[in-house]
Amino acid sequence: MIDILLQGVLLGGYYALLAVGLAFLYSIMGIINLAHGSFAVLAAYLVLAMTDSLGINVWLAVLAVLPIMAVIGALVDRLIFEPVQKGGQLLSVLATFGLSVVIDNLIFQIWGANTRTLANALGDLAWASWEIGGLWVGKVSVYILLAAVGLLTGLTLLIARTPLGRAIRATATDPDTAGLVGVDARRARTIASALAFVAIGVAGAALGMRTTFTPYAGVTQLLFAFQAAVIGGSTSVRGTLFGGITLGLAQTLGATIHTQGFLIGGHLVFFAALFLRLQFGTLRLPKLRRAAA
């Protein structure tokens, strides 16, 4: 039983990591990026391409992919998020959904339908584990949980303490007023988008290291990220970790109850969280000004 709980928490670490980019982007632009999962999977393929065909060390490959993701994030902001935001939520949902279809099929076109993983590139580390009191704990899972905590803390500090963070907060609250007081709102949101995509890149690398992935895995990753973010209910470090771990626990517990209970358990807890929040107050993911206040 303790083993199941432990696995659930570690899995939850991955979901928290996955939720960071989605929740961060939403808190700043009010856009729910339906292509979120597809970009995470794209990052996993980029890392794989570098380790496979160029023979680069997997960690170096991850480091190389992150700036690429940042550039993609900046481009997506300028080409899609920014123009679409003027047309309201409807268009942002439609455009990012279209984007996810394009990314998924591009990946399929380039890398084919095979199931892939980064575990081979990791070598021995992929199976390495610590033994704690008779329980085996995979090293990779622990690293992913630590990465989630580190990334969340780093982002929170960046937003709360630095001039750049202040500019992003101002832009999130009111872009026009931010412009009046000398903040380059356009630049701030492009940087924010780039940051969100770096987080997506880290999550994608984590996905590839802990399990396998296919070109159309983005759909599932998007749903997991969204569920973790909604259960957590805020973009704070604690909220996101709580959301991810709750989801992870629900899934691992669901799997012990029924062979197909893994996903069902997660979905049920997600709807329970939704329902609870409908009864007891606000349902929306809080905007940044509230989360950071």
Binding site: I31, L99, L106, F226, L263
Partner: protein, 364 residues
């Protein structure tokens, strides 16, 4: 301008005072062109109904696909374009429609009635669901519906009758001779598409339609003039679920085999969104036009597989960014083209004869 017109319509409809003071004004609900359109539509439907006499099974097969697309596009457009709730989870109702058909038929209900009953059952399921889901907004509603569709998929997989992803066939269909089967399915699909288009037409011309168009233009303003936003959206949510379920049931009838993965696939949403965006979201004619455009593209380009999907996704982005009003929205805003009267024209008597631009119009 469409907002003010929606409001003025509501007030002429709801308050006798307003009716009295606006006595010299006239609300026009038909134009000669709209009458001709309805007439042409009736002729086209009659022609399609008689078509099997001169065409073969291949024609009927493809036509069923077109009718299913029309069902999906028209009902999704009602939900996203008019009620402002962009769902990415209608494939959940599509799959349920097929699943319930199999269950009903397995329970002994004759196969053809069970197609329609299944859609009604799914509509009934959608009513309680709407209470929770419609509290969600925008992107949250979109993904929330997606999660719901996935949950439906997983729950259906639990049914031993379905045998997991292996799936099962609508065996009862085999008892019907192939010729009769094709003909009945074709006619049922035709009647379904016509019924849903007509229902949408009548819905938009009713009080709900005026409320819907007000919600589409500005939800807060609609609420402030007394539109029951939640109730109105619920009606549309159930209507859209029914339409998607009927589409799923008919798709099952046309393809016989039910594999959960294929029916609960988000691909259906990619198709539907493409149709409605290209045709013109929030316009009555646009959704139908979009379904026809998609059908033609699929017929001629469907063989290109992944590239075809890539083009669909890319055009959804391009349309959303550059032409959010779609083909029909463009035509009607540019040339004042409107074939169907789903709104009301309010005209002052002295300017009546001068025609367009003289009155306030609230077209869908």
């Amino acid at each position: 301008m469409s907002l003010s017109s929606s409001l003025s319509n509501l007030s002429t409809e709801t308050s006798p005072m307003a009716q009295a003071t606006t006595a010299p004004y006239r609300v026009r609900r038909w134009t000669p062109r709209a009458k001709i359109t309805v007439l042409l539509f009736a002729v086209a439907v009659a022609a399609l109904a008689l078509a099997p006499a001169v065409t073969g099974a291949a024609f009927m097969d493809r036509a069923v696909a077109l009718f299913v697309y029309i069902l999906l596009a028209v009902t999704w457009n009602a939900l996203a374009g008019y009620a402002g709730q962009v769902s990415v989870g209608q494939q959940g109702f599509f799959g349920l429609g097929a699943y319930v058909t199999i269950r009903l038929s397995d329970a002994g209900l004759p196969v053809f009635p069970s197609l329609v009953v299944a859609a009604l059952v799914v509509g009934a399921i959608a009513l309680p669901v709407s209470f929770v889901m419609l509290r969600l907004r925008e992107g949250e509603f979109a993904i929330g519906m997606w999660v719901l569709a996935t949950l439906f998929h997983l729950l259906v997989n639990l049914d031993p009758l379905i045998q997991g992803e292996t799936g099962v066939s609508l065996i009862a269909l085999n008892a019907v001779p192939a010729e009769t089967r094709n003909l009945v399915i074709y006619l049922m699909a035709l009647v379904s598409a016509v019924a849903v288009i007509s229902a949408m037409f009548l819905l938009l011309r009713s009080r709900i339609g005026a409320a819907l168009q007000a919600i589409r233009d500005d939800e807060a303003a609609a609420h402030s003039v007394g539109v029951n936003v939640v109730r109105t959206k619920q009606v549309i949510f159930v209507f859209a679920a029914f339409g998607a379920a009927l589409a799923g049931a008919l798709w099952l009838a046309g393809n016989v085999s039910f594999q959960p993965k294929a029916y609960f696939s988000v691909q259906w949403m990619a198709y539907t969104i493409f149709m409605v965006i290209v045709g013109g979201i929030g316009t009555f004619e646009g959704a139908i036009l979009g379904a026809v455009v998609f059908f033609l593209l699929e017929t001629f380009l469907g063989g290109y597989g992944v590239w075809y999907l890539l083009v669909l996704g890319a055009s959804a982005i391009v349309m959303a960014l550059g032409f959010p009003q779609g083909i029909w929205g463009y035509l009607s805003s540019r040339h004042g083209l409107s074939l169907v009267m789903v709104g009301r024209h309010l005209e002052a008597p002295e300017t009546e004869k001068s025609g367009k631009g003289s009155g306030w119009s609230a077209d869908g």
